[in-house]
């Protein structure tokens, strides 16, 4: 039988080199010990409130609701967190845990730079050394975030192996971790990788869904009909979904990056196009060929430009508890502009994938129904990339 640890159905597991196993076990033990410890919880809650700015707002988008002419639309404003995305939730938890474990150094991968910026921020706050690995292509399309991380005292390594994007940044961070493991914690940025990461990251992100439930019950007195979130690895989505998994009447919808289209090779739609495989420490769905070579994927969004998906999402898809849809670059850019114009909120291009699907779904639903969209990040970082996409020349 399979190692049952850290499995979601058949997915998950611990597919890493022997060298890392001791550390993963230590991490799991430390996590189990601290997660229930009152002083750890008190410290983390303090950081969440006083540093990250939680709870984040649940905003009723009245204009969009009227314009789209269907369901009532709410946005969970993770974009208003310190550092501008949901990533800070996980990072404060993991860096605090690392510090309690006696680690003096943290390393992390980053795609769009949001997780890298969040990690560098938490490391600066808690006084840990920090090194970030970022694909060369992403350092170019998110140049400002590189400077931001450096400003926060982190060292940024440009990754030039493979496709030079997020998956290669993960490879390189794994290589670094296996080389220097005693004093270093790998702050994995999404609900992926080997056990216990998918569980730890989910637990630190599930505050999103908890708050959605409380806030919505307060203003509407009922649960939403649907929750929509974008999905790369899937941390903001699982954070928003988790509290509602047992509320079967709530539709949970994840939006993957279809890039230039799911029928083209230039996409990152893992559930739509992928097959089961074992990569980056976990069994899950991956974009890959018949020989198990991981496919070069594409999305306008560096944060969704990843060929896999967290194992819990793979399971939720198989048991049909969550739905996964694909949204193209064009649709995401259109939604990016629409939300900016209509509500005065510039979303991260990642989150714009969720907004794009919202625009399709809302008009088909009854006027008294409710949709919550998790606005996982703010879009300041994407303004230059969207301008480039539209062929507009601007001087940054």
């Amino acid at each position: 039988m399979h190692n049952k640890k850290g499995r979601f159905g058949e997915y998950g597991g611990q597919y890493v080199s022997e060298t890392l196993m001791k550390n993963l076990k230590e991490l799991e033990e430390a996590y189990l010990r601290f997660k229930e410890a009152p002083d750890f919880q008190a410290q983390l809650n303090g950081l969440m409130q006083n540093y990250a700015g939680r709870p984040s707002l649940l905003y009723f988008a009245e204009k969009m609701t009227a314009e789209l002419g269907g369901a009532k639309i709410y946005f969970k404003r993770e974009d208003l967190n310190h550092t501008g995305s949901h990533k800070i939730n996980n990072v404060l938890g993991q860096v605090l845990l690392a510090k309690k474990m006696g680690k003096t150094r943290v390393i992390a991968e980053t795609g769009a730079g949001q997780h890298g910026v969040a990690t560098a921020t938490a490391a600066a706050l808690m006084g840990l050394e920090c090194e970030i690995f970022m694909g060369k292509e992403d350092t170019e399309r998110q140049a400002l975030n590189v400077f931001r991380m450096e400003l926060l005292g982190a060292k940024v390594h440009t990754v030039t192996s493979g496709t030079m994007t997020l998956k290669d940044a993960v490879n390189e961070t794994m290589r670094e971790w296996v080389t220097r493991i005693d004093d270093t914690h790998y702050v994995l940025g999404s609900v992926m990788g080997p056990h216990p990461f998918p569980t730890i990251v989910r637990d630190f992100q599930k505050v999103i869904g908890k708050e959605i439930k409380e806030q919505l019950l307060k203003v509407e007195g009922r649960l939403p009909n649907a929750i929509i979130a974008c999905i790369g690895g899937g941390s903001n989505a699982i954070g928003a979904f988790y509290e509602f998994i047992d509320d079967k009447e709530v539709r949970l919808i994840g939006c993957e990056a279809a890039g230039q289209g799911v029928e083209t090779p230039k996409n990152a739609a893992t559930i739509t196009n992928g097959t089961v495989g074992i990569f980056h420490g976990m069994k899950s769905y991956f974009c890959q060929d018949e020989y198990g070579q991981i496919a070069p994927v594409h999305s306008i969004s560096a944060g969704l430009d990843y060929p896999g998906i967290g194992p819990e999402h793979a399971h939720l898809s198989d048991i049909r508890r969550a739905e996964y849809v694909a949204v193209t670059d064009d649709e995401a850019v259109e939604a990016f502009e629409y939300l900016s114009r209509t509500e005065g909120i510039i979303p991260a291009i990642e989150s714009a994938h969720a907004v794009a699907y919202l625009k399709k779904l809302a008009p088909t639903m009854a006027k008294n129904s409710i949709i919550v969209v998790n606005l996982s990040g703010r879009g300041d970082k994407d303004v230059a990339a969207v301008a480039r996409f539209k062929g507009v020349k601007i001087d940054e």
């Binding site: 190692n3 022997e18 998956k167 490879n171 290589r175 493991i181 980056h280």
Partner: protein
């Protein structure tokens, strides 16, 4: 007694690693024969993978060259069938778990058996997940090589008590690749291994010179040389047969 076990009988074993299909399949075929004739005792053939996360830059590049050259696991199987007709040297596959899993575990091991592969090393399949391949390996008598790392001290007994073939002892932390100096307490770990099992040990990761190999052979029954050979292939391309053979002849354990 298996071909692998025989390779350790009464002597220290030199294990050579190359990436299959680097730079092309014909060169791999010729290299295996040439290395077998140059004094190598076991040959480990890496299945090229798009994302070799346990490798240093030298073997990463070899994987890229092989994939660019059109190498697939099917082509490797065909080549190894031809090779098996010419040599009886023990052959191992080194593969990340995904290419095996996606190909079909049962089909993969059946093909291994048919082309005379003796064992398999899967760097991202730790003890806790070994069941992923256990039944298929047993069914087709493919020896699944156990790995022991510098961080394994408290895990040694569990890792090696049922080990087959040999035990791959990772010399030091980090990824594969040439190291000028191997700093490690591998001796302590190997002592612990020897207390649990008679299965021979071999040390790999970072061993690049005949001198280092000889030193490491004081601790273990075998030594694995990889990146140093792959570097010669990188430099000479299809003309690597002669320089690789010459390099291997310099080793005496």
């Amino acid at each position: 007694m298996s071909r692998i076990s025989k390779a350790f009988e009464g002597k220290k074993a030199l294990i050579a690693f190359i990436t299959g299909g680097d730079p092309d399949i014909e060169t791999t075929e010729k290299l295996i024969i040439a290395m077998a004739n140059s004094g190598v005792d076991i040959i480990e053939i890496g299945i090229p993978f798009s994302d070799p996360a346990a490798e240093g830059i030298v073997i990463q590049k070899a994987s890229e060259r092989a994939l660019r050259g059109g190498c697939t696991v099917d082509k490797l199987f065909d080549a190894l069938k031809r090779v098996r007709e010419k040599t009886d040297i023990p052959l191992l596959f080194m593969s990340y778990i995904n290419p095996i899993f996606v190909y079909g575990k049962e089909r993969f091991m059946k093909n291994c058996k048919e082309c005379g592969i003796d064992g398999i090393i899967v760097p991202d399949l730790p003890f806790e997940e070994r069941d992923e391949l256990l039944a298929e390996c047993q069914q087709h008598s493919i020896e699944q090589i156990a790995m022991v790392a510098p961080t394994s001290l408290e895990r040694v007994e569990m890792l090696v008590k049922d080990a087959k073939g040999f035990i791959y002892c990772v010399s030091s932390l980090g990824v594969t690749g040439v190291r000028s100096e191997i700093k490690t307490d591998i001796a302590e770990i190997i002592d612990r291994v020897k207390a649990v099992t008679d299965t021979p040990t071999a040390i790999g990761f970072g061993i690049s010179t005949p001198q280092q190999a000889k030193e490491m052979a004081n601790f273990a029954q075998g030594v694995i040389v990889g990146s140093a050979i792959v570097k010669i292939i990188e430099k000479h391309g299809r003309d690597c047969i002669e320089p690789v053979s010459r390099f291997i002849k310099e080793f005496s354990l």
